[in-house]
């Protein structure tokens, strides 16, 4: 697969001394669905706007198809962009909105109408062409915005938190639609969101942003199962965190001392050595409450502080290894009733389910 878009050491500063984004390196193959995920203010929109041509990088360069786009004005870049606000033209009907990019490209009327109809069909809005944007629901407007970004068949589509304003059900529907359309049309998609669930569902790969830097760039499952950064570990899904010091380093494993308790963890950084400060992360659903006759590589004593019934699982808050906020998710199956608030229990988890991440 060929590289479609590339960021090389890109940095951006608005005020001349603080960098809003820094050292961004990305290689996006053609046809990929890449999500930029990160908390508010982490520089996602800034990256997108630099790629779109509305901002220019203060350092580094952006390449599209191997060529720098430094001197290409926004209107010549020919990317499809879906803005967070949709940015539909309120004075034009839906069909006119869709025809706009075709008109400015001088495409003749018959072909134009054909493309507009096809785009409307793609987003399942046939028959809405004559409406004005303010006569549409939020989800419909959203779909018009997507159709407009696709109608002139761009090879690269950028979407900036397009689903932010929608309620959950509609959002899930639209996520499905977006993915379907992207696969159908085969465009390269760069998608911005701060909703990690959305990112997991949609993306081929996710770039996790924090404070203007990419913390980890990987497929959703890798981010979830093998985060190699404390921020990523806590940002993607829920994770228990235990702070400790490495005492022993083995082959891809290490032993960590947490508040006097010894924990075996998968070792993430190659250069980990005894004495390093690390955070050990364990997914709540990987923690079991052990019956007396079982044992796991990591087994600790814990006190049950509270139990919340969530439906398909129980959420048990435990005090263990000096962390009074340790969560275990216990599947809702027969026998769970044996755990009661105030009980002293043994909990355990597999070595490979917990990772020692270096604290910088």
């Amino acid at each position: 697969m060929t590289t479609h878009v590339e960021f090389r050491n890109v940095a951006k500063s608005f005020d001349g001394h603080t960098n809003v984004v820094e050292d961004i390196n990305l290689e996006i193959p053609r046809g990929e669905f890449l999500t930029l995920l990160g908390p508010s203010g982490s520089g996602k929109t800034t990256c997108l706007m630099m790629l779109a041509g509305f901002e220019s990088p203060t350092a580094g360069e952006i390449l599209v198809d191997g060529k720098s786009v430094q001197d290409v004005p926004a209107h010549r870049r020919a990317f499809g962009i879906v803005f967070q606000s949709y940015a539909l033209f309120p004075h034009m009907s839906v069909a006119k909105n869709l025809a706009f990019p075709l008109e400015v490209r001088g495409i003749e009327t018959a072909r134009r109408n054909e493309l507009v109809d096809r785009a409307l069909k793609l987003v399942q809005l046939e028959g809405f062409g004559s409406r004005k944007p303010n006569q549409l629901s939020g989800g419909q407007q959203q779909r018009v915005a997507i159709a407009r970004a696709l109608v002139y068949e761009p090879e690269l589509v950028l979407m900036d938190e397009p689903l932010g304003a929608l309620d959950r059900q509609l959002r899930e529907e639209m996520q499905y639609e977006i993915r379907r359309i992207q696969e159908e049309v085969g465009v390269t998609m760069i998608y911005v969101t701060h909703d990690q669930g959305e990112a997991m569902v949609l993306s081929d790969r996710i770039a996790v942003f924090e404070a203007g830097r990419i913390k980890q760039l990987a497929a959703p499952i890798t981010l979830y199962e093998e985060p190699d950064d404390p921020f990523v570990a806590s940002f993607i899904g829920e994770n228990n965190r235990l702070f400790g010091t490495v005492t022993q380093v083995g082959e891809a494993l290490c032993t960590v001392d947490v508040d006097g308790h010894t924990i075996q963890a998968a070792q993430v950084a190659e250069d980990t050595s005894p004495g390093d400060k690390v955070v050990v992360v364990i997914r709540p659903e990987r923690v079991s409450i052990l019956q007396s006759d079982h044992s796991l590589s990591n087994s600790q004593e814990a006190t049950v502080l509270s139990i919340t019934f969530v439906g398909d699982h129980l959420r048990v808050q435990l005090d263990t290894c000096g962390n009074p906020d340790f969560i275990a998710k216990i599947p809702n199956i027969a026998g769970h009733g044996s755990v009661l608030k105030g009980d002293k229990v043994n909990i355990g988890w597999a070595t490979l389910d917990c990772r020692a991440l270096p604290i910088l």
């Binding site: 926004a74 209107h75 010549r76 962009i81 803005f83 606000s85 940015a87 004075h91 990019p101 400015v104």
Partner: protein, 392 residues
């Protein structure tokens, strides 16, 4: 019940609008078509003249009735007003009427008719009687006819004013032209200014806004007279032109006390009314719209023409209507800097109110102006839609 209470709270406001707006408009319209001065001063004459054939002099009895009432009118000091009303219909008849009651004592003619004719030969002509009969009509179209350069002849026929006296139509057209020109100028200057304000950094935007508002804090009189200082032949602008060698010292431009003065000063005075609605509409146009347009392939010019400008139209509509309506009735500025060539219809209305005291004509001119504005407003509403325009 709750609704009733809520609307009763609005009663003082409704009363205020009625008293300050509807009542004056009603009395204005009434003034333009209704005048009972003569009918009230000469009630019996009015009555008998209705039966008069109009083809020959009225009967002796009519002369007698008139004599009686003229004497009575003289005593109640109504005579002067009666004479001036008749004079508006038949010029020259003022003196005929006002001198008549004073002279009855000095004649010794056999009957009333002879007496009248002895006092003034005009009483033997049909014209003055036609004029008198017309003056006794309480409802008249005379003012409106005059306001469009026609006149009601004493015999009831309608004729164009002689060329030398045709002023009002020209003036209406001039007023319309000036209003359109001022509106256009305000748009041409105001649009880029509002755009600059709406797109400047917030610090600059505030400074520009203050600059636009400063004129509001200055007296209109001061602003207008300062234009005289700037534009007059020995004024600042001419000095600069001469200094720069653009015009010769003995050939200084006349820019004030004519149309140029009116246009320049009115545009400056009305500019804020264009800028403010535009500014408020422009600040509400999402920045993403133009970005979206260029991301879709529109160059900056296309993005402006096809996306930005249409979205600023409600501001253009509001500002345009405001400036236009204000300039149609503009008075002080043309009066001060307009000279004789830069006068507008409101200056003539003021003249008839204050100097010639022909309130009926002033009212008719005002009514025409008012109707014109209303018609324009309705047309405007049809094509642009009042609900689409935004004042802020």
């Amino acid at each position: 019940m709750g609704k009733l209470k809520a609307s009763s709270l609005a009663l003082p406001l409704i009363a205020f609008v009625v008293v300050t707006l509807l009542v004056p408009i009603f009395s204005l319209v009434r003034l333009s078509v209704y005048d009972s001065t003569v009918a009230e001063a000469l009630p019996k004459t009015a009555e008998v003249l209705q039966a008069w054939s109009g083809t020959e002099l009225p009967s002796i009895e009519v002369y007698e009735t008139l004599a009686e009432e003229l004497i009575a009118a003289q005593e109640t000091r109504e005579l002067g007003r009666v004479a001036s009303r008749v004079n508006r219909i038949l010029s020259g008849s003022r003196s005929t009427i006002s001198k008549t009651p004073r002279r009855f004592a000095r004649t010794d003619a056999p009957d009333a008719r002879e007496e009248f004719i002895e006092i003034d030969e005009d009483w033997g002509e049909l014209a003055i009687w036609h004029a008198l009969r017309q003056a006794t009509d309480t409802f008249t179209s005379r003012n409106f006819l005059q306001a469009v350069d026609f006149r009601l002849m004493p015999d009831g026929s309608i004729e164009r004013m002689p060329e030398s006296q045709q002023v009002y139509v020209t003036l209406f057209i001039r007023t319309l032209g000036v209003s359109i020109a001022v509106t256009a100028l305000c748009f041409l200057i105001g649009y880029p200014m509002a755009y600059a304000m709406a797109h400047a950094s917030s610090g600059w935007a505030r400074i520009l806004l203050v600059l636009v508002l400063i004129p509001f804090w200055t007296s209109l009189l001061v602003r207008t007279t300062s234009w005289i200082v700037i534009l007059q032949q020995q004024g600042v602008l001419n000095d600069i032109f001469v200094f720069l060698g653009i015009v010769a010292d003995d050939n200084r431009l006349t820019m004030v006390h004519n149309m140029t003065g009116t246009l320049v000063a009115m545009t400056q005075v009305l500019l804020p009314f264009m800028i403010l609605p535009l500014y408020s509409v422009m600040t509400n146009i999402p920045r993403d719209l133009t970005k979206a347009a260029s991301s879709l392939g529109a160059n900056p010019f296309q993005a402006f023409v096809r996306v930005y400008f249409p979205n600023s139209l409600p501001g253009v509509a509001a500002g345009g209507l405001l400036v236009f309506i204000l300039s149609i009735g503009y008075y002080i500025t043309p009066a001060l800097v307009g000279g004789s060539k830069g006068q507008l219809i409101s200056n003539l209305i003021a003249y008839h109110l204050q100097t010639s005291l022909n309130w009926g004509l002033a009212a008719a001119l005002s009514v025409i102006l008012l109707v014109g504005v209303i018609v324009l407003y309705v047309v405007y509403d049809r094509f642009i839609g009042i609900d689409r325009m935004k004042l802020g």
